[in-house]
């Protein structure tokens, strides 16, 4: 019997012994084993037959347990007695077990005498061991299956679940059963059938028992999900089981609504401290347990959709749509607090990047494109967010980047193409040109010609050129995954041209095509060409150095990937197919919600005219304080476009409702210094998605605009502005400046009218109605509004050629009022020391910028001409800027095509050019390029005010869009020769206006070249850091990749404050980013020092000014690179070959 003690040692720790036994498999022959087994069985059955001995059970129980342990071990160790591998013959023990129904009797005995938890656990473990380790298939024998199901039924109830103490054993056993089942699919059928006998409707017991564990975290949940997935996969072709799952189990509803529950436990607010943060990466969420749990469940959904029977899949998708997306995600996206908007948008983005199954993606996209929440599609809501403040804007841009990366026809149709399909945006005569490509590089040349002169100069750069990496050009793409950056410039293929030219010119043909290894590593080095070839003069290093070849390659790659992805689209979208005449008219420009959410942005970016130096100072101080003092507010909400180095971990303001800035709003508005227009906008509109954002906007308008008309809605304000305008410029004479200013101001008023109007009529559903009411209402708001409003209207009529007459009309109208306005403002001067508290730095950075810009332009024209020029200059120096352009991009009204000559700096026509307003009644009849393009163009137009990171994301998206090969889209963006309808602004026009502003800015700042160089260097340094990051784009969800990149501390778990204490997070983040700061901080301070040296204001003011300067300088860098990117795209489209459809064969 020595062997017996060896295999089945007694003791309480049977499990460990068993595993020891399995490690050294029993060498005993089958007959001996059978004998031993029979021996045990005899003793057990003797106990079992003592039906009346229940009372004295303790001893019995111990005996039975011991014997059972050993019996089942023997059974598990037994090998099949032969037969083929498919239907192996039962070994003798198994045969005995089956014939005597051993297991059934055992279980029944236990059940009869009442199962205590201890016995339950023991039995579950025993069965788990048996099933997991058995050498021969067991579950197909009902003598095994029935007792198993009996045991399960006794231990757990599908409805009530099981006691927590049993959970682990239960799930492990179920998991084992499912593993077996997946190896022997026949078992599924058996389980199903014999369940039907035993359990009635809940006949797939193992399944029903697993469902409650779907969303469990930790190993238990994972085991349960794995088991369920096995059931799904096994039943993928079993219609009956699929029907059972869909009709009799709660699988799909539990899965979908469970997601809802998990979603609701996600952090409502994502505390972010890097101002470049815009999307949740894997490292970001790995440390957030609630998000990990959610993502596990989402991944599980994805897997189920992948493997399950179509019935199950469809039901699950249905539930996901109706039980998760619509009731939970939809409202979450429409939450009123900005934090929640940011969080929900980032979550949606993360989800979209994580799902891989087409039908699941489709469910998400359907939800986004078609579902209406409060009358607006989700898509529409998301679109309006792009125009919002930085962080929300960035997160939204990131989401759209993800959406675009699907290359989904349905999405592109809704987003862009349906607005272009009617071809009403092009002149009739130009429709043929839609399909043309940039054959001769004309468009490319046009794009390149927009690189501001000040960004071309390299002379200043020579001094420290050696410090600069050869290629900094690609930094543009650093945070963008779609244009991957090249840490080391690898040889672009086309570089070979130059090399070849060089060598053939000198030594004759190379014997073989030059390989990359023979190529210099950068165009700068490769430039040498035979002097005899004038055509191939070494390209000016300063230009080609910026990686144009790299851009060409990126463009080629982008276009290839995109057109490959789009090869199965239903139509070419080339202006003929779908036919422009047959398509339904696109939706008209929206009127209510978008304007509400967009107008504030316009206010923020262009409108807040700081008319009085004291106010400006106050605003600047406020801005700077908000930016620099780490305790003021956290930059996560209102990203102020600070350098990423100043990671201010400032978890102060918990809720947006506590807007520190909005507190002073009321007083200030009543103290006659805030603009009336915005206040109602911000406070009266109850339902707009940006409701919470609005007070902010109102705020800086409040601080910014010292128009005193408190009681009169917009009218007063407008008149006054116009007055001041005329005053500054003095005379109706050369009115370019006057006209521009005047129209800008009046447009402000007009937009104010819009806003006001919308507040009152926001609930009107019909856009046309809204439209038709608009003008009258704007005009009648206040009597004083009328004259100027009319002026405005007549001036801003989309006349192809703005006439001097109209300018003059506006100018003369405006004359007196400007003067008085300025006087008023000056009088108010010293009022606002307290204001410093309230500024939202972001807003100020932007508005100061814009105002400054505009004033500067104005100043140029009137300089030396007017008595008041003094004040103008003063304004010009420390104050800020309404950049008029973006006004026109207001989504609800297509811009008038006045900026035809955007490329040319301020011709007289620019008066009309900058006139943002247009008769509100007209838009419906005018072509409309859709909200997406409108908002993108609007953002582009305000590039100077955008933060670096917004610009990087923004240009990345335009790049992505420009990769699409569909002629309608391609020609719209890249064909600079196309003539659009006057009301349609083209990309080139937008870029032209940006160029002008950059050049104007550079002309103002002597040290611009130095700053530019430093900014470039910073970007290079930053780019290097980013290159070591895993791509931001698509954090894979596969488990194999789940190892967090441990190379560097994850910013992410620092970011989500909920996981750790703020203090710890702060320290950790500071540590993690120390290197970044080391790299960049000094640079930035240098940048600021230079910028601010001139002004003698307080340090905070300087910092605000520095911020503004910094944004512009970075913008100049990004802008130049962006133009090269666009030029490269135009060129590559001309040489791109289309891909044939895949003809249904999926690859």
């Amino acid at each position: 019997m020595s062997w017996l003690s060896r295999i089945t040692p007694r003791g309480t720790d049977g499990r460990t012994n068993r595993s020891a036994a399995s490690a050294s498999p029993c060498t005993a022959d089958p007959e001996t084993c059978l004998m031993v087994f029979e021996n045990h069985w005899r003793q057990v059955s003797w106990v079992l037959e003592q039906r009346d001995s229940v009372a004295g059970g303790a001893d019995d129980l111990t005996a039975v347990r011991n014997h059972t342990d050993q019996m089942l071990c023997l059974l598990a160790e037994e090998k099949p007695a032969g037969g083929d591998s498919d239907t192996p013959a039962m070994g003798p023990i198994l045969e005995l077990v089956v014939s005597e129904n051993v297991l059934q009797r055992l279980v029944q005995w236990h059940v009869r005498r009442g199962l205590d938890p201890d016995s339950q656990t023991a039995l579950l473990k025993l069965f788990e061991m048996l099933i997991g380790r058995s050498q021969q298939p067991l579950l197909q024998h009902s003598a095994v299956l029935q007792p198993l199901l009996g045991l399960l039924g006794a231990c757990a109830d599908p409805q009530l679940g099981c006691p927590p103490s049993l959970e682990a054993s239960l799930v492990l056993l179920l998991n084992q059963v499912c593993v077996c089942m997946s190896r022997q699919p026949a078992v599924l059928e058996l389980l199903f059938r014999c369940g039907a006998v035993q359990q009635g409707p809940t006949n797939l017991l193992i399944f029903s028992l697993l469902v409650p564990f779907i969303h469990r975290d930790g190993g238990l949940g994972q085991q349960a999900r794995d088991a369920l997935l096995l059931v799904m996969a096994t039943s993928a072709s079993n219609h009956a089981v699929a029907r059972y799952i869909t009709e009799n189990s709660y699988f799909c509803p539990v899965l979908a609504t469970g997601l809802s529950a998990l979603y609701s436990s996600l952090p409502r607010k994502i505390e972010v401290h890097g101002d470049d943060w815009h999307a949740l990466r894997r490292e970001d969420w790995m440390g957030v347990s609630s998000l990990v749990v959610f993502m596990n469940s989402l991944e599980f959904c994805n897997a189920v959709v992948q493997v399950a029977h179509p019935l199950v899949r469809c039901q699950l998708l249905d539930y996901l749509h109706n039980g998760f997306l619509v009731p939970v995600v939809g409202p979450a996206l429409h939450k009123s607090s900005v934090d929640e908007m940011i969080a929900s948008t980032a979550y949606l983005d993360l989800f979209l990047r994580s799902v891989t199954e087409k039908s699941l993606v489709k469910t998400f996209l359907r939800f986004i494109l078609l579902h209406r929440h409060d009358n607006d599609t989700i898509l529409h809501t998301l679109l309006t967010r792009i125009s919002s403040n930085s962080r929300l804007c960035m997160v939204s841009l990131s989401l759209f980047k993800t959406l675009l990366s699907f290359n989904c026809e349905d999405l592109m149709l809704q987003l862009v193409l349906r607005y272009l399909l009617p071809c009403t945006h092009v002149m009739l005569s130009q429709r043929r040109a839609v399909r043309e490509t940039d054959l001769y590089g004309k468009s490319a040349d046009k794009f390149l010609s927009l690189i501001p002169e000040c960004c071309r100069t390299t002379t200043a750069a020579t001094s420290d050129r050696e410090e600069e990496p050869a290629f900094w050009g690609k930094v543009l793409g650093s945070p963008n995954s779609e244009s991957p950056v090249h840490a080391k410039p690898s040889t672009p293929s086309r570089l070979a041209l130059f090399i070849r030219q060089q060598s053939t010119g000198v030594t004759g043909p190379l014997s073989s095509a030059p390989g990359p290894e023979s190529a210099p590593s950068s165009p700068r080095n490769s430039a040498p060409l035979p002097p005899s070839s004038p055509m191939h003069q070494p390209p000016d290093p300063s230009e080609v150095e910026s990686g144009y070849l790299e851009y060409l390659r990126d463009a080629r790659r982008g276009i290839e990937l995109c057109s490959w992805a789009c090869r199965d689209w239903s139509a070419p979208y080339d202006g003929d197919n779908p036919s422009p005449s047959s398509v339904p008219p696109p939706p008209p420009p929206p009127t209510s919600t978008p304007s509400l959410s967009m107008v504030p942005e316009h206010f923020s970016s262009q409108r807040s005219v700081l008319a009085d130096p004291a106010q400006q100072r106050a605003a600047a101080v406020a801005a700077a304080r908000a930016e620099w003092s780490s305790s003021d507010r956290n930059s996560g909400e209102w990203d102020i476009t600070i350098s990423k180095n100043c990671i201010s971990l400032t978890p102060r303001s918990k809720k947006r409702s506590l807007l520190p800035s909005s507190v002073p709003l009321q007083p200030s508005s009543s103290s006659s210094s805030s603009s009336v227009t915005e206040v109602p906008l911000g406070t009266a509109e109850p339902t707009g998605p940006l409701h919470h954002a609005v007070p902010h906007q109102a705020l800086y308008n409040g601080t910014g605009q010292a128009n005193e008309c408190v009681d009169t809605p917009d009218g007063g304000m407008e008149v006054k502005k116009v007055k001041r305008d005329a005053d500054v410029s003095g005379e109706p004479g050369p009115n370019g400046g006057v006209g521009m200013m005047g129209s800008t101001e009046s447009s402000l008023a007009l937009e104010g009218g819009y806003g006001d109007f919308h507040v009152s009529s926001a609930k009107k559903p019909a856009p046309s109605q809204v439209k038709s009411n608009l003008l009258p209402q704007a005009q009648t708001c206040s009597p004083s509004l009328q004259p100027s409003s009319q002026t405005l209207n007549c001036r801003s009529l989309p006349a192809p050629k703005p006439s001097d007459a109209s300018v003059a009309a506006g100018g003369s109208q405006a004359l007196e009022s400007v003067e008085s306005l300025i006087e008023e403002l000056l009088e108010q001067a010293p009022s606002e020391p307290d204001r410093s508290e309230l500024g939202d730095s972001n807003g100020h950075g932007i508005s100061i910028e814009a105002f400054h810009q505009e004033l500067r332009e104005l100043e140029e024209r009137v300089r030396g001409r007017r008595a008041h020029s003094h004040s103008a200059e003063e304004l010009g120096q420390d104050s800020v800027p309404t950049s008029p352009g973006p006004h026109r991009m207001d989504e609800e009204c297509p811009p008038p095509e006045s900026e035809q000559g955007a490329g040319e700096p301020k011709s007289d026509g620019s008066a009309g050019t900058f006139s943002p307003a247009r008769p509100p009644a007209q838009p419906l009849t005018q072509p409309y390029i859709g909200p997406f393009m409108t908002v993108l163009f609007s953002k582009l137009e305000s590039m100077l005010q955008n933060s670096l990171y917004v610009n990087i994301l923004l240009t990345g998206i335009v790049f992505q869009l420009s990769c699409y090969p569909q002629p309608l889209l391609r020609s719209f963006l890249l064909n600079t020769n196309m003539v659009f309808q006057p009301s349609v602004k083209s990309l080139i026009q937008v870029l032209g206006s940006v160029k002008n502003r950059i050049e104007a800015f550079a002309a103002m700042h002597e040290d611009f070249p130095t700053m530019l160089r430093k900014a470039r260097r910073f970007l290079v340094a930053r780019g290097k850091l980013d290159w070591t990051d895993p791509p931001v784009g698509v954090p894979p969800l596969r488990r194999s990749d789940s190892l967090v990149k441990s190379r560097k501390p994850s910013l992410g778990d620092l970011i989500l404050r909920h996981t750790s204490s703020p203090t710890r997070a702060r320290h950790a983040a500071q540590a993690a980013l120390a290197h970044v700061r080391d790299g960049g901080q000094s640079l930035h301070s240098a940048l600021f020092r230079g910028a601010v040296a001139a002004s003698g204001a307080s340090s905070l003011e300087k910092q605000a000014e520095a911020l503004r300067v910094k944004n512009t300088v970075y913008c100049a860098v990004i802008f130049s690179e962006f133009l090269k990117e666009l030029a490269a795209l135009a060129q590559e489209h001309a040489v791109a070959m289309p891909f044939p459809p895949s003809q249904g064969t999926e690859e």
Binding site: P310, L311, C314, Q315, L317, D318, H321, N322, E357, K362, L369, F406, N407, C408, E409, D410, L411, Q414, L417, E436, L439, Y440, G441, A444, D445, L448, S449, S493, L497, Q501, G505, P509, S512, A513, S532, S533, P534, M535, H536, Q537, P539, E543, V544, Y548, R556, R557, L561, W564, A565, C566, W569, S570, A571, V583, P584, A1134, V1135, A1136, M1137, F1139
Partner: protein, 291 residues
Amino acid sequence: CGLVWGLSSSNARSDSEEQGGAGEPRISPARHPFGKKQLPSIPKNALPITKPSSPASAAQAANGTHASYGPFYLEYSLLAEFTLVIKQKLPGIYVQPSYRSALMWFGVIFIRHGLYQDGVFKFTVYIPDNYPDGDCPRVVFDIPIFHPLVNPVSGELDVKRAFTKWRRNHNHIWQVLMYARTVFYKINTMEPLNPEAAVLYDKDIQLFKSKVVDGVKLCNSHLFDQPKMDDPYAISFSPWNPAVHEEAREKMFTHKRRPEDHPKGLQVSGLSWVKPGSTQPFSKDEYPLQT
């Protein structure tokens, strides 16, 4: 026909790949051993460049806003022209830009019926270096073909008569190639470059025919000659050699062009649920249960 055209040996390494790279859809029925038209794409690592010493284009580039981008423009223009050629799928015509200059293209034309049936004529296209603002490209046959419009000495085809003024945006090189093919099917004897051929065609068609047959034979007998131009990308023919050509041909037929650096395990991309003919999203319904 046991001929295979291919690239000269110096470039044989990338031969098959490049032919495959052109990746034309199989559209035309195979009526030829290599019935699937294949144009070699411009080799990846070697874009042709323009010849040195081209004052005109230099001037043009200098005129442009950004002289340093000049080379890109010219090369891309020619590359774009080449792309257009590929897209046109001209029957029986193959061209390949030379290694040394984007302004010189090697070509071969297969005449499949008519008077010049079975002719395989190699030619070179010379594109003026002030393209696209100069004259029309010139087409010169390697061996002067007996044809009214082909100069019997230089082998140059009279292209100018069809493109009296070269207009950018309207005229393209594929049209020149198309014209070069048409002249062998529709014979025009007006103002000939080869008066003898013109006269014979009009007066003694039989003699014309026999002279043409002789010319075709002559051309084909020189088919395996070394390319006239010493250029790695010159088109050269060699007798069918299974060891070399089988595999290349196989690749040509089976090749499926994909993006150059196509990400493996591409995530969901290129989705479309739009029913053809509709402009409504999700109009193509696949899943009955979707609500």
